[in-house]
Amino acid sequence: MMNRTTTIPGIRSGFHPVKIVFIIILLSGLAVFPFVSGNRFYISLITEMMIYGLLAMSLDVLLGYTGLLSFMHNAYLGISAYAVGLFLIHVSPTSFWLACLAGIAFTCVVALPVGWVQVRTGGLAFALLTLAFGMMFHTIVWKWYDVTGGDDGLMGMPNPDISLFGIYIGNSGDPLVIYMFTLIIVTFCFFLTRRIINSPFGAALEAIRENESRAAFIGINVRKYKLLGWMMACLLASIAGALFILYKGYVGPSTMSAFAGAGVLMMVLLGGMGSLWGPLAGAVFFIYIQDYISTMTEHWEIFLGLVVIFLVLFMPTGFAGLAGHIRRLRKE
């Protein structure tokens, strides 16, 4: 007989053996890649994919698990990137960890009041309110010329050295160091988020996604949990923001624009909502397609539009859905 007290039907504890092997292969492959190929373009492309993957995953915490659609989640990546950059330029150009902390803390301080206002609404009003706040941040960053550098973006950010407990690891200007640093941080965030999603807190978020009014009727303080879900998503986005400015050495209003925001949303939807690795795959696919198509032809917008329409129509649940689909195929 099943051990009644601990097993939950339908959820295996830990990973399925096949998945574990797949993850190990993927991670070791990514870890070895820069040393093998050494081509700096692919190193920076994969770093960018990982950073946007982390951002897409943080949006999935909002969209896939709490059911809240945010149009401009990249605004919080931008705020964190600006905060880290300004800290390094003005406060102290050498302290790396302090700068990252400052960026993340500042973003959370900004995200809290915004979140408090956001959770008072739901559904499409919530989505359009995120557009309003996002555009507000975008315009502020754009107009505050003497601090943020306006339309030219943040210039002249020094590259501090990264050292952990006294051991010197490398300079943050070197793409290889940033690649490894990003790989470690994104993997850590992935497993941390996966753990949180499977925790009682994650279950409460899912209940809110499924049926908000019923969740209130079983005793969940819906607004408080939506706010916590929002703060968690903004925290992850701010980590991605810190990584972004370290990787690119530059951030500008176009990183925080409405079109880039919708791009992140596309990564989540193409990757498949409600599964943490889906948005990561969506980010890899989307960045590759955007980069690949735009080099192919001057009129890349037409093809990007067609690809998006095709995918939304014929692959409703994204890659994650596709994987589920294939699994069902094998079962038949």
């Binding site: 499409l124 557009l131 309003a132 939807l269 009129h299 890349w300 067609l306």
Partner: protein, 292 residues
Amino acid sequence: MSGTLGIIVDITLNSLVLSGVFLIVAIGLNITYGLSRIMNMGHGALYAVGAYVGFSLVASGLNFFAALLIAPLIVGVIGLIIERTIIAPMRKRSMAYTLILTYGLMFFLDGSIKYIWGNKPRFIELPGFMQGTLPILGTDYPVFRLMTLLLIILIMGALMLFLNKTKIGIILRASSTIPEMVSCLGVNMSYVHMGAFVLGCVMAGLAGIIAGPLTTIDPLMGGEMLISSFVVIVIGGLGSLRGAVIAALLVGVVQTLAEFFITDLAMVIVYILMAVILAFMPRGLLGEGKFE
């Protein structure tokens, strides 16, 4: 050159024209959302298509007013094709997916505009009497902008009559509140949704040819106007016509005044206004989902 009276006239007329432009673009978006529950991100691109088609018609020798009628119909046909091919299968899907689908549609339309008409800005040849300026109370104001204001008021009146008086209009409005009930009365809902979407596209085309010459006809006009019309329909309340009228006036006046007095921070003020209204009235000024 013009005294304080002239400036006041300038500002009021400017804000009225801007509010009118916002209204006519936002109404189309509200119709597609209110009546067929589709938040069409491609609405801005259809607005641009309307302007460009209008330009080509006038450039090929057609009278401006004839183009004023034909261009929206062409955009309506384009809307019909879009609705039948990609929007109809999306009816059952959640709002997030239709948002992304229409976002892809926006990219496609913007790209095709650039492909067909090229990059440079275009200007519509206005008929003679519309080109000069009219001296009003100490300042001379372009005749065309006054004509635009007049046209927008006429169009809004016609739309109100259509929705309130004609049989189709009533069906459209009824189906926005309780779709199930309307389908029980033997009305084929897919036609209603199709009609609503096409009507929204016709309005976008009409807005394009009217407002196009005011601002500029270039490939980027769609994107900018989309965000402003989002601001208007959200403040006015999703799906509510009357709300959109009030919101368009509010945003038009605030933006014109802000641009006149504190030029740089004008847009920040508009977005703060939207955030404040949404914070305390999550459904917007008049938004209860009902469509009146």
